[in-house]
Symmetry: C2
Subunit: 368 residues, 2 copies
């Protein structure tokens, strides 16, 4: 199970990840909607190839830099699911010169800027706020939506693809309510589309995101494409929401145990905020930084009940453990963490190792 | 003020940082204690040089990988202020072959391992828990402390330097109580030292950390060295604790504004959990992810009252702004964030730009 792990390491279960990819890909196909998985969770060329083997050709990313990373590795149809950052117009033009680039817009200012500065054709999606209230045009504000659509139609280099939303509010609800929320998002976008159609905007697509909705909904009816990302690994937040089961957890963070405090049954791991992130998970009324699981020698076995990361500082994690587990541990052992939010942990760790000891390189953000 | 910043960027004020370095360096000198600044905040060769210019020759880091980074750049005396990770024994030996390497130990298991596996002499510090309860030997558990000291004395390649603590509990108290807490830590270590001296362990040093204590205490009496780190940049948490003033904030995160939501006076920045970290700051009863400040054209001017980062997702930050500021903004403007915790933001951004447009490279963690 341990391909020579000596410091905090993203440990990836190849079979589980491939199963996760195949299951979601099959689901989209059976629902007859496009599958444009979000690659911000794994950010990896190698795992991208596992998607390619499952038939994926269109992808989503969360930044222009990440789009460049995948474009340099033969991905030709990439949507950047983030409001277009006009300061990066040079990179937008570079990318649009060689791939089918999709951008999100939600203001006439940005549309005018792109109209003036884009040198190559760019696909644009109207980002619609269907209830999450993070970003996007309010789905009920038809005037602003319509003005944006008109501005895009008036542009010779912008191609209006359709309406896109991310139902991030699914993370703040319950398993039972998620499918209804997912359907509500599609329904609200459908309403906007019908209105725009009456105004002469035709052939608009509807693109929806979010792993909880895509995982738990039996029907994608009304959507034209789905963009889940986290499902490739899932994580403690998804477990706590009951969006996935433990045997679908594709990524753990293996952390060396460096200190034991028997007086309080606490272990200290080399594994802190710079490896796991300070994102939390709330489960059974307790908010913490991740579950701990045991190893069975060649894969992960099960979550240790009542074990969790109590606190994180820059490099330290303080782990609470039941007595019988605590007694069995010594410094230099590895603890396997189900990270609270796998997207953030993967980003921090910058690379991974698979159960087959393959090194997985990843995109890394830099401001240079 | 803006050296061509187009995406989330650690923006460093050279003069403020140099002032911070000089002030703390002078304070340690005037108090006649050693100055071993913690480099985990900046993690940068270039900023290390600014310390060197101010006379620093001994440093602290938080991982063996970071020690290697600085050792490769001519730092010869480095303490890794983290419980020794015995899985990295190869790197310990590599480092100890060329620099004066200090490690922290707190268990006989680890001391025995190091005794058996260290090839070159290593300085070890007994990590003492003086009240923070994250890690270390309880300062009152003289038996365990004494057993560890004896095990070190019995080792031919381990050299017992003294007692080291980190008063991280200072972050959870108030400005008024911090100096007393700092003094209490020193006093508790002094008590341990006196007991060990009676047992024949002589010439033990006392090393204390933490920016709040080092910044606010007028006396370092009883300590032999101080290891503050965060003071080089300070941040929103230190501001909220009143450990520093705004004109001592050395690092901001410049973030492009990508969307405006006038109906709720919220702006969305390109700047999320992967740039700023999900660490929070609590100020005047409100918990958020950082303050926003205005620019005066060639430096940072002042904090915008009632402006803060309300939420962070992977790449998005949602910023609440007062009406008059909101009205003045447009997509493509830069917002300057005082990050909640500058150590974590700097680590995430991986590089910085100074007010003089110098690119600051940084150490980056990798599990490879």
């Amino acid at each position: 199970m341990n391909p020579k792990i000596i410091k905090p390491t993203l440990f990836l279960n190849t079979q589980i990840i491939k199963n996760n990819i195949q299951r979601m890909s099959n689901k989209a196909a059976s629902q007859k909607v496009g599958f444009r998985p979000h690659f911000k969770t794994h950010q990896s060329i190698a795992i991208g190839e596992w998607f390619r083997e499952a038939g994926t050709s269109q992808i989503t990313v969360s930044s222009l830099g990440m789009a460049e990373y995948f474009a340099n590795n033969n991905w030709k149809d990439i949507t950047v699911a983030f409001p277009a950052n006009i300061l990066e117009i040079e990179l937008i033009n570079q990318l649009a010169s060689k791939i089918k680039l999709g951008l999100l817009v939600e203001s006439e200012n940005v549309i005018f800027f792109l109209t003036q500065h884009c040198v190559f054709p760019v696909n644009v999606w109207l980002k619609i706020d269907a209830g999450y209230h993070r970003t996007g045009l309010d789905w009920q504000d038809i005037t602003r939506i319509s003005n944006c659509a008109s501005a895009i139609r008036a542009s010779s280099n912008l191609n209006l693809m359709g309406l896109l939303t991310h139902g991030g509010n699914s993370y703040h609800t319950s398993k039972e309510e998620i499918p209804a929320l997912f359907a509500e998002g599609i329904s609200r976008l459908s309403h906007v589309r019908e209105t725009l159609e009456r105004q002469g905007f035709t052939n608009l697509l509807i693109s929806v995101g979010d792993t909880p909705g895509s995982s738990l909904s039996n029907s994608f009816s009304g959507a034209d494409e789905v963009r889940p990302g986290n499902f490739v690994y899932y994580d403690a937040q998804q477990l706590a929401l009951e969006v996935c089961t433990f045997d679908q957890i594709g990524a753990l963070v293996a952390c060396p145990l460096v200190a034991l405090h028997p007086q309080r049954n606490e272990a200290v791991i080399y594994g802190g905020a710079i490896h796991l992130s300070k994102d939390t998970v709330t489960h059974q009324g307790k908010t913490h930084f991740g579950f701990i699981c045991s190893s069975d020698g060649n894969g992960w076995a099960k979550i240790i009940p009542d074990a969790y990361i109590k606190s994180l500082s820059q490099e330290h994690g303080v782990v609470v453990l039941p007595d019988e587990i605590f007694q069995s541990l010594t410094e230099g052992d590895l603890l396997y963490i189900v990270p609270s939010h796998s997207c953030l942990s993967a980003n921090l760790l910058g690379s991974g190792k698979t159960t087959e000891a393959q090194i997985i390189d990843m995109y890394r953000y830099t401001s240079d």
